[in-house]
Symmetry: C2
Subunit: 192 residues, 2 copies
DNA sequence: GTCTATACTTGGATAGAC
DNA sequence: GTCTATCCAAGTATAGAC
């Protein structure tokens, strides 16, 4: 399996296209032909970089997860208070959603998971675990220093936050309007 | 377009299969061949009942939406207090989720919406609008009679409830465990 | 790294017999 | 209402030339 840090410029553009397609139409909704047209090459050129569609999917999620962790680190490095960190976290989802109501990559793959290869599902699971762990830590900090108040535990609140963000994207797509993930979470945060 | 109230026994079983498949692998994840095997007929027999896959999808969502409204009526007829009604509502989603972490039909279709026919998307949108309207009414009642307390408006809380339920199913599928929609919503309700 | 050509499979859909 | 046979398009993937 190729590693996302060793991608050639062409391979990078292929992964870019795959990510955009998965966000919009899902793994089962795109073909190598779609990617070929977006990148400007022919179908077999994709196979030169990624042997199978599953491998392309795995590398794409791994890169996505890695970039997401970089974003989490950036939040930790630029904000100190739990409420600010949580709002910045919600903004990560919202910036994706604002692009034509695109989904979170792992939210989409999670919905499709029953029809996907186990290699892909494992990466998605890891993404959610990383996110829950990070949220739990931030919320614990907020409950401890008094910047957040709740009668619930940090890990329960973390799961609510994550479900709320993913769900707001799903519902927002179906409604064609809807508040979107950031505003939905802000309303929730103002209730606790 | 056929109406779901006029389905023959065979057509009914085809819609049953389509619903189960969409809940588990999504619209783009199943084929007429899958349905044929589940029902125990050959592919062309499906076309005798539904001219196209889109028509099958539309009829399936219409039947699903109708049954969901029946369930909402049942809740209204058997429970009077807003908190009880909301918990019973969450249980509707949870009973689906407990079957192999299956998704809500419209949650799945909403995630896939960018790749679906407009006829299907319109039914999904209608489903969400019905749900939001019902939730808003129940929550308004609860806020008025004092059985619910919040500094937020009923329609904001309704959107949170719906997003939370759909999102808990998505995240729960990806994590392979996770609390599921009912417990997630109960935690939320105990915070307001 | 990209191409043409092609193999093989599956998917949605139709024709026409029973 | 269901079947066999078939069409055509699209999907993943491979072989081999440039």
């Amino acid at each position: 399996m190729k590693h996302f840090s060793e991608l050639s410029p062409s391979a990078e553009r292929i992964v870019d296209a795959a990510e955009e397609l998965i966000r919009n139409v899902g793994y089962n909704g795109f073909s190598f032909e779609n990617i070929a047209q977006m990148v400007g090459v022919k179908k077999p050129s994709i196979h030169h970089h990624f042997a199978t569609k599953v491998e392309l999917g795995v590398v794409m999620v791994q890169r996505y997860s890695h970039r997401f962790r970089q974003a989490l680190l950036h939040i930790e490095g630029t904000m100190s208070k739990a409420p600010d960190r949580l709002k910045a976290y919600a903004e990560l989802f919202d910036s994706t959603y604002r692009q034509n109501h695109a989904m979170c990559v792992c939210g989409m793959l999670s919905a499709e998971s029953t029809s996907l290869a186990e290699l892909i599902n494992a990466e998605v699971e890891r993404f959610f675990q990383i996110n829950l762990a990070w949220l739990t830590e931030v919320i614990t900090q907020g409950l401890t220093d008094g910047s957040l108040h709740s009668n619930q535990t940090a890990d329960q609140l973390a799961e609510i936050m994550l479900a709320l963000l993913e769900g707001a994207m799903v519902v927002g797509r179906g409604l064609k309007f809807g508040r979107g993930p950031r505003k939905t979470v802000e309303v929730f945060l103002s209730t606790i």
